[in-house]
Amino acid sequence: MSGVCGWVGEADPAVLDAMLDAIDYRGDRIDKAVAPGVALGYRWWGGRPGKSPGIHRDGQHLVACAGTFAPPEESPAAALIEKLHPGESGQDNLDGAFAAAWWDGGKRRLTLLRDPFGVRSLYYVAHRGTFYFASEIKQLLAIPGLPREIDDAAVHKYLTFSFVPGEDTPLKGVRRLLPRRIAIWENGRLEITQYFELREALDARLSDRGEAARLIGDLCKAAVVKRLHGKENIGLFLSGGLDSSAVALWLKEAGANVTAFSLDFGDKSVEKDRAREVAGALQIPLHFVKVGGEDLLPILPDLAWRLDMPFGDAVTGPQYLLGKAARAAGCDCIFNGEGGDQLFGGWTQKPMIGAELYANLYTSNTGDGGEGSREETYLRSYHRFYGAEDALYTPEFRSRVGPAGQRRALLMPYLQGEKATTFANRVRLADFALKGCQNILPRAERMANAWGLDMRAPLFDRQLAEASFALAPQLKLHGAVEKFILKLAVRGKLPKDVVWRKKVGMGVPITDWTLGPLAPAMRELLGKASLERRGLFRHDYVEPLLQGRNLPGETRRRRVGERLWALAMLEAWLRVFIDGGGRSPTGEWR
């Protein structure tokens, strides 16, 4: 909720209006500050506590800040300059969900800033001598004459991760400021620094599991409290899994007025009963939101537009509909349990451990230099198109995606570097930095924003994250028990089977949907004519997927739908942003 934009250089002031209009769903109020060679814009919802009530003006300083700090400040924009100072009262404790721009007129310097975990986004582009920035890509597309070309290397990465990692975006020339970064634009030069780095720092005092569980429990509860902004109508996305159930517990303990929302996939639901059990035990009102493939068909264009970047996980559709239901029920903000897997050791690290143990047993077959490496194993764990490039890509696209090793390079700082000494914490760091901060959080924020909801993910808390990497990894993955320390922290307070059972996952029945109610849209987006027009993918690879046929070595049926959805959401994004210029689309694809 809320957004910023602006530029340093020369541009028509009408462009600022266009940039603010492009995100009209991010608020009902706008504020603008235009001076020679600079412009700042800010859009927000009035009457929401913890939000800046406009652009902060202080002498030669202009500050626009979208989002909130944790703990909250009355006006984040007014508090920002103080918080940017080094030290305990400033950068060392900077936390929350924000993206900000500060113009220092005296020094003629623009400072851009993002929150530690990437809830709020910021993009920038230099065009015809002017440096532009904005919360969303669609705002930058309001710049007259900005070229709309596909960045093939970014698309190549998307096809491996199902989101675009790193500074690239699929719109050539547009870059993303990464989380926990400060960017300074001065004298026509951009300099980016990092104000916070998550790394392993094992604390021997936390080797006692009782002590560690108490600490984690206290920090989790404090993280929830830090994100409560006075009297609000709070919604909670409750899956019935451990993480969201634990957040429900801490919200309840903090005395919050909370209503829970849970997905209902009909006979495909896997955690519905658990959600009901948790809500019953904590006496929280629970609404089930029925979602089927037929519900997604009419919203696909709008979904692609509101996501702003291509996100290929099928959870976005149900999240969109959950947000709609929460808004209809009168909620202002929505809490979730995102981050539990990344912080406390979810299921994703187990395959990595097996792969590491059995690495290099066989001679390489591809000779691309990466086979059997940790990085390659990690890339394969996304189960999209890594390794299928020759089969999926057209020769023309294949020749444009850039050199080998660019995807592995994104992982090396975590899986090989000095940031951790234990294997499990290395994997956690990679998960946290990429999957958590560049995928889970931004997409959840956009799906909440689609309905004017403020998204809060308390487990992505700076103190909590640092504490989790002070714990021995064996307290997180204990034998084969995932998130062990979190289980210890909530045992006795939540139903036993919710705490101790194995993770099931949300289980979006995407294969049934893409081959059933969504099949007309899949055919429209990924049929032969569409693929030939776009020129990226080979029809002979995609067609069997459209017919429901899995790849020969693939054992899981759900991969058919996951791959179709990832390809379809990319094509949807390309239609809305490259072909359509980022304007709100109309009609349906079928």
């Binding site: 299921w347 395959p351 451990i353 792969a355 059995y358 234990t422 993955l477 084969a480 790849l551 020969p552």
Partner: protein, 362 residues
Amino acid sequence: MKCIRCGTDSNYKERTGKKCPKCKGAFAFEPRDGDAFTDPAFQHAIDTVSAKGQLRWGAEHVYYELARRQRVKSGCATVAFVILAVITLIVVLKAGWLAVVPALVAMLIGRHVWRTKKQKFVKLVQKDFDSMLKTWQKAHGQPKGLIVRAMTRGAAAPPPRALESDIADYSFDRAVICDRARTADLLLANNFHFENNCAVLAIDGYPEAQFETVRAMLKRNPRLRVFALHDATPKGCRLANTLATDKTWFAEQKLTVTDVGLRPGQARAFTGLFQPPVGQPVAAGKGISATDAAWLSAQTLELAVIRPEQVLKRLYKALTREEQDDSGGGDGSSSGGDGTTHDRDSFAHEASDVESDSDGFG
């Protein structure tokens, strides 16, 4: 014969020096000189076991694929025999003595069919196949997907990747224990362990460098799910029992072991691909019934007879079916009463699948 490199069809005279007249690429085989298979037939076998290059496979899989082709030929002979017998009958009715010719041919084919029907052991000699594979590699290089160990057993290991100290402190959700190292190779080389969070070991200590570490890790999960994957041999059919009762394995954890291997009841449909028995008559007990003991005393069957894609898919189904049942005794499984259960469905349909798949060769 078609060149597998450029697709040019050539006759024997044109293939001077066993080379393609167009691209000059070498042929591995020359049926006119007595080779049992053509290059396209051998390539087809590789394509089939590798699922068109998508999977990794062992030489033993190509061996059985080619052996299966010889068995398919006997199937063709049966069809020819029936057709000729019908023709003979018609000619006898219409033209009297002219029936002698088709009758003679039908008798000859009938004799061949009878012999091949009686033949239960695999016809392709292992040594001949090994030689064929070498010839193939000489002409066409190392085939894509062939599983080749980075180190051979007993040889000096290459410097292992330095593992962080914590890695052996964790455990797995499942373990598949095989009766032979090559079966473990098939699973590991195709990342079955990665896809299914599953330890893979062979009971006799493979892979050597990881064996004890992984076995110790398995003991850290009191809810570990154990699966036995094996040939239809006495050793294989006793594998689940051994794992459930041996203290060095899972006896002390009191874990139930699910037998997902090939057993005589499933193996019978593979007549013509059997291997000879392993010496002494097999005694019943320790996981082997009297009926199975009788069968195993007369022949055995290797799991490699099943194509890799089917092994992986059916093993995955068995793993997930077992988890859905949870009790280990749901539909399609039966208790062995000794800490083991048998997944009767794991390869139950494999024989018919293979039989119906009579891909053309060459």
